[in-house]
Amino acid sequence: MAEEKKRHIPIGPYHPLQEEPEFFKLRVEGERVVGLDIEIGYNHRGIEKLSESKHFEQAIFLVERICGICSTSHPFAYVNAVEELADINLPERAAYIRSVVGEVERIHSHLLWLGLAGHFIGYNTVWMWSWKYREPLLEACEKIFGNRQHYGMMKIGGVRRDISPEQGRFLSEKLEYVRKKVDMLDKAIEDDPVIGSRLKNAGVLPKEKAVEYCVVGPTARASGVDIDVRRDEAYAAYGMVEWKVPLRNEGDVYAKTKIRLEEIRQSINIIKQCIDALGKSGGEIEADVNDIPDGEGIGRHEAPRGEVFHYVRSHGGTVPFRHKVRAPSYMNVFSNKHAVVGGTVADAALTLAAVDPCYCCTERMQAVDKEGKSVLTSRELIKLSQEKTYELRREKGERV
């Protein structure tokens, strides 16, 4: 029998499976992944340096463009940091509105991921339907916040736009529709044995490894690490409404999927309570903000991918002296060093995608043999993943 050679499979930097460029070099022996090298930096834009030349308010618009899918996450954390630095009290009405924005974003971000995951495993119907059910939310974003993404809602001391009762009702109707569809998708994922075979036990990240790599968000909660900035720090309106943090212990792609689906349901609960509260009383949507004094502040937000961290230092001028940004994927992507290794090549692409990597936030797949020659391209890797599903479905007697 020929000796099994160690090969390298590169995924990336430009890869149909991922929205942004990154480079994963998988070291493979036969069908098993035995090592992983990760290179990032393809999208590095020098945001922190740029921020040092922006007025404090301008920096909001700058960081909003770090990400195109969780665009409000960075402004949310940033304004929290500046408000802490300058000891600004957020009006209650603004707190509710901020939570509405954050949660609407969580729902459509998770639905986007669900669609991609469906595509990776060859279930294009899941892909099409998830993205179809995102549309009513993006429509609501445009109607209420002014844009489908990059809403421009956050400002230091408040929010830029109010939510009227009519807009609240419009959003509630869309959420009811989405809730029914998410329940349907959840049941389909639970009931389909082939989807179960693909997702269960794939890309397991055990709890001790999740802690070692300091992962955050659904990646952490799927591995039994009970953290959620919304509950732990209770900023904006999160401490004023009733909701739960889902937690699972399997650490596999299935657990991450279930966590995200449950988070969608919890987000719908949060938004409904916020809309009720907004309908009951008025109030200001922004506080008076004077000059930002000398000092430092930390601001966090639980983005769809996990904890976003901003640190701002001021020397009393008009611009941040230092603005540190740390996105959740920065911690989560690194954990793939453990999650992908030991699995099969066919599962590698799905595992890498399971942390819901957002490279724009972070900074932003190739199989090679020992000589560094490519043995599988990105396209071939997706096909490998999809074909594994078709094979499983044929075994179950389905026509594929």
Binding site: I40, K49, C214, I298, E307, R322, Y330, F334
Partner: protein, 143 residues
């Protein structure tokens, strides 16, 4: 442990090794420690169950500063360890062998701020392009 007890426990553990201690709010603790005490302090916070969130390096022109941010998730408290380094050749001990999740941020601080982490000598490009021909440490005030 409760957040009040966390502050007390840290104060008593670090004692004279603390250069300064401030708690601007119930949720924030900032501790300045001597750089040679960093590893001991990090090990202690890890043992108390704090999660490493990230580190931020700051070029204060006269000196360099690194803040290590830890989260005590149970109580929503952040504990930030502050160390001050000389600006010409700033260096500190690595904590990446104690906390795996700190490996990348040390590489980033080395690349963008020029801070050397003894024990984490991974000199590969991280965020900057291989052919970056700009000034040496872009995030420095003179970078």
């Amino acid at each position: 442990m409760r957040k009040e007890d966390l502050a007390k426990s840290i104060k008593s553990e670090f004692g004279k090794k603390t250069e300064s201690f401030s708690s601007p709010s119930k949720k924030r603790i900032y501790l300045e420690i001597r750089p040679d005490y960093l590893r001991t302090a990090v090990k202690y916070l890890k043992e108390q169950g704090l999660r490493f969130s990230t580190a931020s390096a700051i070029d204060e022109r006269d000196y360099m500063e690194v803040l290590y941010h830890f989260s005590y998730d149970k109580e929503g408290v952040f504990v930030s360890l502050r160390i001050k380094l000389e600006r010409k050749k700033p260096g500190a001990d690595t904590i990446a062998d104690i906390i795996t999740g700190a490996k990348w941020i040390e590489r980033e601080m080395r690349e963008l701020m020029g801070i050397r982490f003894e024990g984490n000598e991974d000199m590969r490009e991280f965020l900057l392009s291989k052919d970056y021909k700009g000034r040496k440490y872009p995030l420095r005030k003179d970078g």
